[in-house]
């Protein structure tokens, strides 16, 4: 079983988000970059599934050389080898195309992504890879079990879940529940240094979207405090002043 896990390099979750150049660029000053938490879950599950010689795990990232520490982290968690497509990840269409082209040439049974990247939150890459390869894609899964050459997954839906079986090959975006986050051990960290990381150049493709500018949400006014012994007042305010019910 050959598994490909798509990983992105994103600002740490504690980052206070600010912008520069007249709100056109994300301010990376002092920001620590990490492996996207959902991709880490995908990777953890892939490593579990491949354990004991049952398969191999390749991680792939579309990014410039600055993403390599994140790629090494993925190797430390247990991926066998890594690929970096040497390009700025222009938009999801561009990223998915690069990954799909690599996958076409390397016949994977299973391609995993995170449910979304925590920076641009597109939740798009998985579906786009699926379409480029004309194979099934499932958007958000919370459970993934393999049975020979097909899988049973649980897809999140409004107010519940759907249990689906899918034959290989397919693409899935993973969320919590699929696996626990894995902390790399010393052996993993040591071996990550010598595992193969192949850098390949991107293929030409149009980009279809572009981020023009950013803004942060408008700050809220000061909090209106209601005394604890007069809790009923809060319900009154929500009903008559804020009019939310």
């Amino acid at each position: 079983m050959k598994i490909l896990v798509c990983i992105s390099n994103v600002p740490d979750t504690t980052t206070k988000i600010t912008f520069t150049d007249n709100n056109t660029q994300f301010n990376t000053a002092g920001v620590q970059f990490i492996l996207n938490p959902y991709d880490e879950i995908a990777l953890a599950r892939a490593v579990e599934l491949a354990e004991g010689g049952k398969g191999t795990v390749t991680v792939i990232n579309v990014g410039e050389v600055n993403t390599e520490p994140t790629i090494r982290k993925a190797l430390a968690i247990g991926a066998d080898d890594a690929v970096r497509i040497n390009a700025k990840p222009h938009d999801a269409y561009f990223v998915a195309y690069q990954i799909a082209e690599y996958a076409k040439a390397n016949a994977f049974d299973l391609i995993l992504t995170g449910r979304e990247s925590i920076d641009y939150n597109g939740a798009k890459v998985a579906g786009m890879i699926g379409e480029f390869l004309d194979i099934p894609s499932v958007s958000i899964i919370k459970k993934l079990d393999i049975d020979g050459t097909s899988a049973t997954v649980e897809r999140e839906i409004e107010g519940g879940k759907e249990v689906i079986t899918i034959p290989f090959p397919f693409v899935a975006g993973t969320a919590e529940g699929v696996a626990e986050w894995k902390i790399p051990n010393m052996r993993g960290i040591m071996s990550a240094r010598t595992k193969p990381l192949n850098v390949i150049e991107p293929k030409e493709i149009k980009t279809l979207s572009e981020i023009i500018s950013f803004e942060t949400p408008a700050p809220r006014g000061a909090v209106k405090l209601v005394p604890a012994d007069d809790a009923a007042k809060l319900i009154d305010l929500l009903h008559n002043e804020a009019r939310v019910f």
């Binding site: 912008f19 925590i118 839906i157 107010g159 759907e162 803004e215 209601v226 809790a231």
Partner: protein, 323 residues
């Protein structure tokens, strides 16, 4: 040219988030001096379909193929893209629901269309097609420009008002040729808690954190939520500990919500939690620690013990209902 809206149904009915998306798509059609066509897939009664006209759809394409009774991502994407081509629609709108998230990228590739996921505004006036979407898990917004001729937009629930324009839509059958290779996935089972309000598109949310001490104390949270018709949610450590299901976890690594009211009880207000809820219209915080960071982003607050305050809130809501 026209605008196509995919009207997703839930057990044969359209939810409010779909009326929002139809209203939104109608406004885009108006901006472009064109008409709005809706497409519905699955089993929906004719009256229900025609009622989409109230929100501005001129025509509804009804796909009632037996093979398409339940949601198959690949096949639905093929049908919607085919309808867009036949109708000459260069803008396709969806609701950013779980199914919408699965469909938008596939339709995008089929139509070679830029995808604006999680849109929260109408396209700006002007020749460039720009609109606002959420980014950094709710910590910011990005203005994205779709530079392609075709465009796909998925609208964040609760970010556009339902507008009734008052017409009736004509309903036409749409017979789509489905290809076998689109049906590789098989749905084994659908499990739904039908008595619960679904969190991603809830208008009111009652959420609780580690301050509640243990799963046995969620009775009062559920009671308050039930009385208000709200969905329940929780912080990450609560679902990690198994006190509540993962599907209730909101925040940067959970679900992002934008309800009209978010009540946070016994949640400290860590930056990762706030990321997922900061676009809520009204935020209420109940926390015994006056220094809890959550108060800094709240509109209303009570400094107090949840175990004393929540029962009082329940009483007050009961009284309000009775009056």
């Amino acid at each position: 040219m026209s605008v196509l809206i995919y009207a997703e149904n839930a057990d044969g009915k359209f939810k409010k988030s779909i009326f929002e998306a139809v209203s939104y798509a109608k406004a885009i059609a108006d901006q472009n001096n064109t008409n709005l066509v809706a497409i519905s897939i699955g089993n929906v009664a004719a009256g229900e379909l025609a009622a989409l006209g109230k929100y501005g759809a001129a025509k509804v394409l009804n796909v009632s193929n037996d093979k398409l009774k339940s949601f198959i991502n690949q096949a639905y994407a093929s049908v919607i893209a085919e309808a867009a081509k036949k109708e000459g629609a260069n803008i396709v709108v969806l609701s950013n629901s779980f199914s919408g998230k699965g469909l938008a990228p596939r339709i995008g590739v089929k139509l070679e269309a830029g995808v604006a996921d999680g849109a929260v505004s109408l396209p700006e006036a002007g020749s460039a097609f720009k609109l606002k979407k959420t980014a950094f898990s709710g910590k910011a917004f990005a203005t994205v420009e779709l530079t392609s001729a075709n465009k796909v937009i998925s609208l964040t629930p609760n970010s556009y008002k339902v507008v009734e324009t008052g017409g009736t839509a004509t309903v036409e059958d749409f017979n789509s040729e489905v290809k076998e290779s689109d049906f590789k996935t098989i749905i084994k089972e659908i499990v739904k808690a039908t008595d619960k309000v679904s969190l991603p598109d809830a208008e009111l949310v009652v959420s609780a954190g580690r301050g509640l001490k243990g799963p046995e104390n969620w009775g009062m949270i559920e009671e308050l939520a039930n009385l208000l018709g709200a969905a329940t949610a929780c912080s990450k450590p609560v679902s990690d500990a198994g006190w509540r299901p993962h599907s209730e976890h909101v925040g940067q690594t959970g679900i992002a919500v934008s309800p009209n009211l978010y009540i946070a009880i016994g949640i400290s207000g860590a930056i990762q939690h706030l990321a997922g809820i900061s676009s809520s219209k009204v935020i209420v915080v109940i926390n015994k620690d006056p220094e809890a960071p959550f108060f800094k982003v709240a509109d209303y607050g009570i400094v107090g013990d949840a175990f004393e305050v929540v029962p009082k809130l329940i009483e007050a809501v009961k009284q309000l209902k009775a009056s």
